[in-house]
């Protein structure tokens, strides 16, 4: 029998019936307030029940305020949406991490930190960044609301078998270069459509060397390359992260699980439909200059000219992006002034991200005129950061210290970046209007965002003293 990939092994063991399309069993369904109300009303309309409420976990994250949220959600529609989720969860017996629950947070932060996300699982959520959970060697992908309804009713989902792509990141990641820079570098290589129809497995020495939180950052942005999912083989780093977490297996079950998890990695003789290689030692801190996550350059570089692109559509897209971003070709990236800094999101809102940012900030002040905000990815991340005194470092420097949620990543809540203003953001998308109509987003790592807050413009964190 020819060797099989991690993806193929997980796929094969989840087929309930069919071949292509196959009906896959869903081990974990994550739910949030924005993409679920219509799914629940569809269920109710047809008199259907949630098949496996205990395999479903809900949280509130997308549209909630990050200040004074215990008072009330001011926007009446958001308030109603949150209330609707509460009612739906109560009626169907689904566990909800509500605003007063210490486990509340961004859906892709709370799944892993509570031990729900485990190797070998199929995980879905009505959110495109579900690919985050692939960091554990799970097959995890985003779905739409009609599919949310289908999973609620049947605990299964129909899927066409995607193609496989290996992204081999060879060599060691240099000091001062973050996981965010690795994925931005990968996206600059494969482009925003390169992964379409594929599941990516990130491999190679540099990937093996990443912590679990860094792996989540990489897998999180797989969708930005168009990929259906991104994954990384489970190893001792994965097991060490999982052991002892609330919903991880315990005792004898832990041992059985370990044996199983060790068996699902890609066989040495397995082949991928596509292979892309990226050299880790040549990676440098990245900054996005345009309006899609593939439009990035090294911090030491300049804003590119549209003429730099051969493809006419790419050229048009670059010209349009430069106009929206109000940038001139040839401008050094380090000359771009910043009005806002946002550290947070399912990409970079975890404790190690906050530690990285705090290391840069400690003992310094946010530049006058810059509004800088830290939004922990979950209330557990927030509590841990406060235990370590990171909140003090941030507050002393002039950062605003918030409660957990998606916040300025998509600005569905009041944390909107005003039109014409520029934000160094640790989030995942720099689309037109993403952080607010007319707002200009530059995607960077937490350390790069923190350094920009201190200087009022981008700097190379590798030179940070």
């Amino acid at each position: 029998m020819p060797g099989r990939t991690l993806f193929e092994k997980i796929w094969n063991r989840h087929v309930v019936t069919g071949d292509d399309p196959a009906l896959l069993f869903v081990d974990l369904h994550l739910v949030h307030e924005v993409t679920s109300p219509q799914a629940f009303s569809g269920l109710d309309f047809n008199g259907r029940k949630v098949r496996r409420p205990e395999l479903t976990v809900a949280t509130i994250d997308h549209a909630i305020p990050t200040v004074d949220r215990h008072v009330m959600i001011r926007d009446p529609q958001s308030r109603k949406q949150v209330e609707t989720l509460r009612q739906n969860c109560a009626r169907h017996g689904i566990t909800l991490f509500d605003l007063d629950d210490p486990r509340q947070g961004i859906v892709h932060v709370v799944g892993p930190e509570n031990g729900f996300t485990q190797p070998g699982m199929v995980i879905v959520c009505g959110d495109s960044h579900t690919s985050t959970h692939g960091a554990f060697g799970a097959l995890a992908f985003g779905i739409g609301t009609t599919e949310v309804e289908h999973v609620l009713a049947t605990q299964t989902i129909w899927q066409r078998r995607p193609k496989t792509m290996a992204v081999e990141v060879d060599g060691e990641l240099p000091l001062g270069v973050a996981a965010k820079d690795m994925i931005l570098g990968i996206l600059a290589t494969i482009g925003v459509r390169g992964g379409t129809g594929h599941v990516i497995e990130y491999r190679g020495e540099a990937v093996r060397g990443l912590s679990m939180e860094e792996r989540m950052t990489v897998c999180n942005m797989s969708i930005e390359g168009g990929a259906r999912a991104g994954m990384i083989a489970p190893d001792d780093t994965t097991f060490a992260y999982l052991e002892g977490r609330a919903h991880a297996p315990k005792g004898a079950a832990w041992e059985r699980a370990l044996d199983d998890w060790r068996s699902i990695t890609t066989d040495p003789d397995a082949t991928f439909d596509e292979v892309t290689r990226v050299s880790a030692p040549s990676l440098i801190p990245h900054v996005s200059w345009g309006t899609n996550p593939g439009q990035t350059v090294a911090v030491s570089d300049v804003v590119p000219s549209p003429d730099h692109f051969d493809d006419p559509l790419e050229r048009d897209s670059a010209a349009r992006a430069l106009e929206y971003m109000d940038l001139r070709p040839g401008t050094p990236i380090t000359d771009i002034p910043i009005d806002h800094v946002f550290v947070g999101s399912c990409t970079n809102g975890r404790i190690s991200d906050l530690r990285e940012a705090a290391r840069v900030v400690e003992g310094r002040k946010v530049r006058d005129g810059v509004s800088a905000v830290i939004v922990p990815g979950s209330m557990q991340v927030k509590a841990q950061a406060e235990k370590e005194g990171l909140d003090r470092i941030f507050r002393d420097a002039g950062f605003s210290w918030r409660d957990a949620g998606c916040s300025s990543c998509l600005a569905m809540n009041p944390d909107v970046i005003p039109a014409g203003e520029r934000c160094a953001s640790t989030s995942n998308r720099n689309y037109e209007g993403r952080q607010g109509r007319g707002a200009r987003t530059h995607l960077v790592s937490p350390a790069m965002a923190a350094a920009a807050a201190i200087n009022g413009h981008f700097v190379d964190v590798r030179d940070w003293r």
């Binding site: 399309p21 009906l23 069993f25 395999l55 958001s78 605990q155 459509r193």
Partner: protein
């Protein structure tokens, strides 16, 4: 879901690549809990200026484009967020099909679920169709049964997943179909490893 067989009507050209779902329906309209009523917000930031006034020349404000049934767009249409609201907004405005050289995976899946027809044609054919669509009265026919697109002299066949095609033609509800596999689902559930996580202990 209503069956989809033939979509016939006028077109709107949107000659841009990588149109993301944040453009199709911006986030401020996602707090609604209904499935309908998104059409008036379609491409909001392109359709309205900062003060909320209609942007001249954009198709949503052009009476000549009202009633169009087919949107013709560039590569990688619908990339980004998984929001099905993007599909609902396109349908709610009146479109029944989108023609593009390629679609983002989640958007394509969402379209199938909601009965919006995503039609993939070679880039040159899409460009030809886009030129034809400059005329707001030009009629296009998208025939799902025969898997062809016809517009004047242009005739092009397209591929579509046969399972999806069948479901769209019949307007079938996927949950009902899946429930026919109840025995297989139960059998699968019975052999899952016991260590897999549960949110509530039974």
């Amino acid at each position: 879901m209503r069956p989809v067989r033939v979509v016939q009507g006028t077109m709107v050209p949107l000659p841009r690549a990588d149109i993301d779902t944040d453009q199709i329906i911006p986030k401020q309209f996602l707090t609604r809990i209904e499935r309908t009523g998104y059409g008036e917000f379609l491409f909001w930031d392109w359709s309205r200026d900062g003060g909320g006034a209609p942007v001249d020349g954009f198709f949503t404000n052009d009476p000549a484009r009202r009633g169009a049934k087919v949107l013709v767009a560039g590569d990688n249409f619908g990339c980004g967020s998984s929001r099905e609201h993007a599909v609902w907004a396109i349908q709610d405005w009146g479109f029944e099909a989108v023609v593009a050289p390629s679609f983002a995976d989640i958007f394509k899946g969402n379209s199938y679920q909601s009965g919006l027809l995503p039609v993939e044609l070679p880039a040159e054919t899409v460009t030809e169709l886009m030129m034809a669509a400059d005329d707001p009265n030009a009629i296009v026919t998208v025939d799902l049964e025969r898997q062809i697109v016809i517009c004047g002299d242009l005739q092009a066949s397209f591929e579509i997943d046969p399972t999806v095609r069948d479901r769209l033609l019949k307007g079938l509800d996927a949950i009902g179909l899946t429930m026919e596999h109840e025995a297989a689902i139960s059998a699968y559930e019975a052999q899952r490893p016991e260590w897999l996580p549960r949110s509530v202990t039974e």
